[in-house]
């Protein structure tokens, strides 16, 4: 699904990713943890194609394609989805119209007919039920005036609508109350399938109680410095990152 080799990326001259390696196989869920500022969101942005970040070295293969060679929109159309840590507001653009435009654009890319209004609305109903998104939010402007938790839930709703192959969730759990967390996790779990993968960026082991990962990675100073089974998350929760930092510098 995704194969990252020796990825280096910098922003404004500062190298943030410094030789990152990661392989995600179809159907797998990978959790990425790591201290603040270690480069987790940077990784997500680079994979999504944000031009603020310059890739200076390395390669990324996505489903047999050179990901770095594709524009942002084509990466999305190929099935890469990023649930943003900070979803932006787009005033005056209804969530529904936004998603309809996006979905049809993706379908067009794959040579498929656009959805009819009724097909589309059926899907909206189904998916908004999945993440228990208030029907009113679906009709409001994209994220405008949404609470922090509502924005996160809306990201998962969009993910459900677009059915990506690979979804990167950047701290989708932060700002969610316990119930919302469960709902979001349910949404993700319902979408798990042998040919869909997830990269879940989080600070809290709690999320991983609900979305059980196949692998947990620790990202530190722009590199994956430790990988392990889901128990690694528990260990991190208990011990913090100092022991890992020591291992790295040792």
């Amino acid at each position: 699904m995704l194969k990252i080799k020796n990825l280096h990326a910098s922003v404004e001259g500062n190298e943030i990713l410094r030789g990152l390696n990661l392989e995600v196989k179809p159907g797998e869920v990978h959790a990425i943890m790591g201290p603040n500022g270690s480069g987790k969101s940077t990784l997500a942005s680079v994979l999504a194609g944000n031009e603020d970040y310059e890739v200076t070295e390395g390669a990324v293969d996505f489903e047999g394609k050179d990901l770095l060679d594709l524009g942002t929109e084509d990466r999305a159309r190929e099935g890469l989805f990023l649930a943003f840590q900070y979803p932006v507001e787009i005033p005056g653009v209804s969530n529904i119209n936004f998603l309809r435009a996006a979905l049809n654009e993706i379908r067009k890319y794959h040579g498929e007919e656009p959805y009819s209004a009724s097909e589309f609305l059926k899907r909206v109903k189904e998916k908004s039920a999945l993440v228990e998104l208030d029907g009113k939010l679906a009709n409001r402007s994209v994220n405008e005036g949404f609470s922090g938790g509502e924005k996160k839930r809306n990201e998962i709703f969009q993910m459900a609508m677009l059915e990506p192959k690979l979804a990167i969730l950047d701290e989708t759990d932060s700002g969610l109350d316990i119930d919302a967390l469960k709902v979001v996790a349910q949404g993700v779990n319902a979408m798990r399938s042998p040919n869909r993968s997830f990269v879940v960026i989080t600070h809290y082991q709690r999320l991983l109680d609900y979305i059980v990962p196949d692998v947990v990675h620790v990202l530190y100073k722009g590199r994956i410095v430790k990988s392990g089974p889901k128990e690694l998350a528990l260990e991190l929760e208990a011990k913090g990152y100092d022991w890992i930092k020591e291992e790295v510098t040792a």
């Binding site: 999504a48 942002t72 929109e73 990466r75 989805f81 932006v88 787009i90 998603l99 435009a101």
Partner: protein, 481 residues
């Protein structure tokens, strides 16, 4: 020489006699220049009654004493008024009974404007009065309107068949000497639209006129007069587009709206004159005077989407004369490349309990300059007047400019006036968000911009709103930076 100007004028006039064209009433085009003789020629061409000719001549005399305004936040080479031809008739001569008889060339133009007439007729029941250059060439739905007593015809026709209405209302809201461009228009206007809705009648369809400039070097001086009699209602649509031109083309229209007691007029415009090339070469100069008068309990709404013209100078205004009258102004003005727009509104509160709302959304791209200029004037007599103004500016690049000039004059202490203004740059994070969802950059910008302008676009009649959205997208293609 102190009287150099006069001498030139005289010489020009003399030349005209020399060539003897003035007697050539068959001529399709007036030679360049403006003089009393030219005005007589226009009036004669149009077979106008004497009072109309005198009205024009009076306007012309006043115009010669006026100076072109300098105060708009725009910079341009002032047109040479003596090099413009003030009259041009389309090639086609025959009187038409139906749209089917329209010259195929004209039909093609209409198609390019996206207004296949058949479709318009079938789908939306819009009566289209199509103005090519200065003469109306096609009018439809007239009979249906006629049954209701609604008069919707070209201005020339109105002067012939409804002189009492024209005499009464022409120049009653925009006096001949109101401003330089209005005076010029009053002197030389060749055509435009006239509309009268009788007492208590609700016009069942959108009244629509499409204008375009055809011949290079031909100025356009439309004159529009809409009179809504007591308790009546109408919605009027005006759309413009112009083909590419190398020379600057002057467009100085005058629109007058009169809403008598309890009447309502909605006037919507999508303006897409040729804006000139990337370097600002060519393009239309759009100097328009639009004003409406509200009597008791009347309401006038101006909605405009301005994407075209090299220069736009335009302030659709409302005189809220009657008690409880309402004025509204909703505007989206887009400027790109070297375009300059200085647009806004004036709300003049005279009657008691008069309300006005101003929503202005400026969008600047490229190296363009976009200014909002608005006046809210509350007169002494305007007890309990209310105004709400919101002026937002969206910048697409770091090289463009947005300016807001709100003027507020309050002479009555019971007035309540609110003004809000914002300026923001289009968010790269917004664009990235859209791209990440699979939209391309053009779509992304179009979505974001249309969202920003939604409050105004929502005020447009359906078929116009769709067209306007397309226009916004087209005029901002590749404009982020």
């Amino acid at each position: 020489m102190a009287y150099e100007g006069d001498e030139i004028l005289e010489e020009v006039t003399r030349k005209e006699y020399e060539f003897g064209w003035i007697t050539d009433i068959e001529s399709d085009k007036a030679p360049p220049g403006l003089s009393e003789e030219i005005i007589r020629f226009i009036s004669a061409k149009k077979n106008e009654p004497l009072w109309m000719l005198e009205w024009r001549l009076d306007a012309y005399r006043q115009w010669t004493e006026m100076k072109e305004p300098n105060w708009a936040h725009v910079d341009y080479q002032k047109p040479d008024y003596q090099s413009i031809s003030y009259y041009s008739a389309p090639k086609q001569k025959k009187q038409l009974d139906s749209l089917d008889e329209v010259d195929p060339e004209l039909r093609r133009t209409m198609d390019r404007l996206g207004i296949s007439t058949e479709e318009q007729k079938r789908l939306s029941g819009v009566a289209v009065d199509f103005v090519m250059d200065s003469v109306s060439v096609a009018t439809s739905f007239k009979e249906k309107l006629g049954e209701l007593g609604i008069i919707f015809c070209s201005m020339s026709e109105a002067i012939q068949s409804h002189p009492e209405l024209v005499k009464k209302y022409l120049g009653s809201v925009v006096p001949k000497n109101d401003n330089f461009f209005a005076a010029l228009n009053s002197a030389v206007f060749t055509d435009g639209s006239f509309c009268y809705i009788p007492k208590g009648v609700r016009c069942p369809m959108e009244l629509s006129t499409y204008f375009r400039i055809n011949e290079a070097g031909t100025g356009q001086f439309e004159r529009t007069l809409v009179v809504a009699d007591k308790g009546s209602y109408c919605s009027y649509l005006e759309g413009c587009t112009a083909p590419q031109r190398d020379e600057n083309q002057l467009h100085a229209a005058v629109v007058e709206l009169i809403a008598l007691d309890d009447a309502e007029i909605k006037y919507s415009t999508v303006q897409n004159w040729y804006p000139g090339d990337e370097n600002g070469k060519g393009g239309v100069f759009n100097f328009v005077t639009k004003r409406g008068l509200c009597e008791k309990n009347a309401k006038i709404s101006w909605t405009q989407v301005e994407t075209g013209s090299a220069i736009t100078w335009k302030y659709p205004s409302c005189i809220l004369k009657g008690d409880n009258s309402v004025g509204e102004f909703y505007s989206v003005a887009v400027t790109n490349n070297r375009q300059q727009a200085d647009t806004g509104t004036k709300m003049i509160h005279i009657g008691k309990n008069t309300h006005s709302t101003i929503i202005s959304k400026g969008i600047s791209a490229g190296k363009s300059q976009n200014s909002y200029r608005g006046l809210v004037q509350i007169n002494k007599t305007a007890q309990n007047a209310r105004n709400f103004s919101q002026c937002d500016s969206l910048l697409m690049t770091d090289r463009c400019g947005a300016h807001t000039f709100p003027y507020i004059e309050i002479k009555n202490s019971t007035a309540k006036v609110e003004h809000e203004a914002t300026t923001s740059k289009i968010g790269e994070d917004q664009i990235f968000y859209c791209l990440q969802r699979g939209l391309d950059e053009e779509k992304a910008i179009s979505l974001i911009v249309n969202g920003y302008a939604k409050e105004v676009l929502n005020k447009l009649p359906m078929e116009f709103a769709v067209e306007a959205q397309k226009l916004l997208a087209i005029s901002l293609e590749g404009s982020v930076g």
